[in-house]
């Protein structure tokens, strides 16, 4: 009869689940949430789209501009795009993705101008060769901590 005692205790304690939509704080800052792209620093290399196993990220180029599109509905939150992103412009939110009911509702599209990739450790000679950095993005050093680019486990 232990089961009936357990059932009675469960009834007294109340439910531990919750009704959706429900917002609660994510306990881990390593949580793999939505992919966020820093448009100021993205160079449009397309590596993220190349390695994405579900084609959640698409990069389409036309001349000097390119379009970076991300569909969370297709994303498996594996973090491969973050691993491959050389300028470390991609990051993952530590919040739960919001609930949505329409296909493509959370789709993010960024239209950007192509920039030249930044070499992480530029030699002084190279710096002399290119004294006038054309854009802020190229001049800005990549200072994103390595820990934040690692996918959460």
């Amino acid at each position: 009869m232990n089961i009936f005692r357990l059932i009675f205790q469960n009834l007294c304690r109340g439910p531990v689940s919750f009704r959706l939509p429900h917002k609660h704080e994510c306990t881990s800052d390593q949580y793999r949430g939505l992919i966020v792209n820093d448009a100021e620093r993205c160079v449009g290399c397309g590596l993220c789209a190349y390695v994405c196993p579900t084609a959640a990220i698409e990069v389409t180029r036309s001349g000097e501009t390119y379009r970076w599109a991300y569909d969370p509905g297709k994303c498996t939150f594996c973090g491969r795009c973050l691993e491959r992103c050389k300028p470390h412009t991609l990051s993952m939110e530590s919040q739960l993705p919001p609930l949505y009911s329409t296909e493509g509702e959370l789709r993010t599209v960024l239209d950007m101008v192509r920039k030249r990739p930044v070499r992480p450790a530029a030699a002084p000679a190279a710096a002399v060769d290119k004294p006038a950095a054309a854009s802020v993005t190229e001049a800005a050093p990549v200072t994103t901590p390595a820990a934040s680019t690692e996918p959460a486990v």
């Binding site: 089961i3 059932i7 439910p15 531990v16 689940s17």
Partner: protein, 303 residues
């Protein structure tokens, strides 16, 4: 059919009452089990939402006699259950006819037969396994079910539902009600007798190949089974007399109390294997039922 009969069929306890009541009982069972497992459970209108959602689904097209039969079985189940519910003597009066309890038993058994036929019609191996399990379980629990009804009938000296109804103080009557209650989990395919519609093992058995409107009809038939079976027990224990509104409220309250009782049993038990379920009905319950029925017959002809 006179006006009273039409009201019974279309309004209360028939069509207009039975369908929302079926959804309500299904919700009650799901909610109660969820709370016993510390889950929040579905909202009140969830069975209705499920029904509407299934009605709107596009289903894979089937052709030929198989498609017609797969649509026919749930429709027969729904109609037979509405007929059974309309026959329940909720209100006192001279409705019904001599031996209508036999017709009620037949109508109550039709969904189970349709469930078996649906399994074989589907052509799915899971459907066939579920159908075989349902057939074996049906034979097992019907022995006890029929003997319980015979016990009540012999005790009350009638097979007329209006005369069988009412809370008689005869012990045979109450033992018969207890026997019927023992069979309801198997008839509703609830734990521990849910082996024929085991979701995790055989993908709901005969319902594996069902989708869309036909599955919605099965869900509706299941809700109506709840109303019919719990309502049948309620009419057997409802006290004689009283105003109509009291009997209507009593019908709903006692039926829902049975829903909670059956939900508790379902939450507290694991699924029996087929052999164990048969053993339960044929070894213990059937022996008890035969003893009670034979003693009722003996007392009937002795006194």
């Amino acid at each position: 059919m006179n006006l009273s009969g039409l009201i019974h069929f279309f309004v209360f306890p028939g069509l207009l009452f039975a369908i929302p009541a079926g959804w309500f009982y299904v919700w009650g069972e799901r909610k109660a089990v969820a709370r016993m497992q510390r889950r929040i459970g579905p909202p009140l209108l969830q069975p209705f939402y499920d029904f509407v959602k299934l009605l709107g689904k596009r289903t894979p097209s089937r052709h030929g006699i198989e498609a017609d039969l797969l649509r026919l079985w749930p429709a027969i189940s729904v109609l037979s259950m509405i007929g059974a519910i309309a026959m329940l003597p909720v209100f006192p009066g001279g409705r019904g006819f001599s031996g209508d309890a036999v017709l009620l038993v037949a109508l109550l058994e039709l969904p189970s037969i349709c469930f078996i036929l649906a399994g074989f019609t589907s052509g799915s191996i899971y459907g066939e396994i579920g159908a075989i399990r349902e057939a074996v379980l049906s034979v097992a629990n019907n022995l006890v079910f029929l003997l319980s009804i015979v016990t009540i009938a012999v005790t009350e000296r009638t097979f007329r539902l209006t005369d069988m109804a009412g809370g008689s103080w005869n012990p045979g009557h109450w033992i018969g009600v207890f026997g019927i209650l023992l069979c309801i989990p198997a008839k509703l395919r609830l734990n521990p007798f849910s082996t024929s519609s085991a979701e995790q093992e055989i993908y709901s058995g005969p319902l594996t190949e069902y989708a869309g409107a036909a599955l919605a009809m099965w869900e509706l038939a299941h809700g109506l089974e709840w109303v019919a079976l719990t309502g049948f027990v309620t009419t057997l224990v409802v006290p004689a007399g009283g105003p109509w509104w009291f009997r209507a409220v009593y019908f709903v309250v006692v039926s829902f109390a049975q829903v909670l009782l059956l939900s508790t049993i379902a939450a507290a038990t694991a699924r029996f294997t087929l052999q164990r379920a048969i053993r339960f009905y044929w070894r213990w319950a059937a022996i008890l039922a035969v003893l009670i029925a034979s003693s009722a017959v003996y007392m009937r002809y002795r006194g």
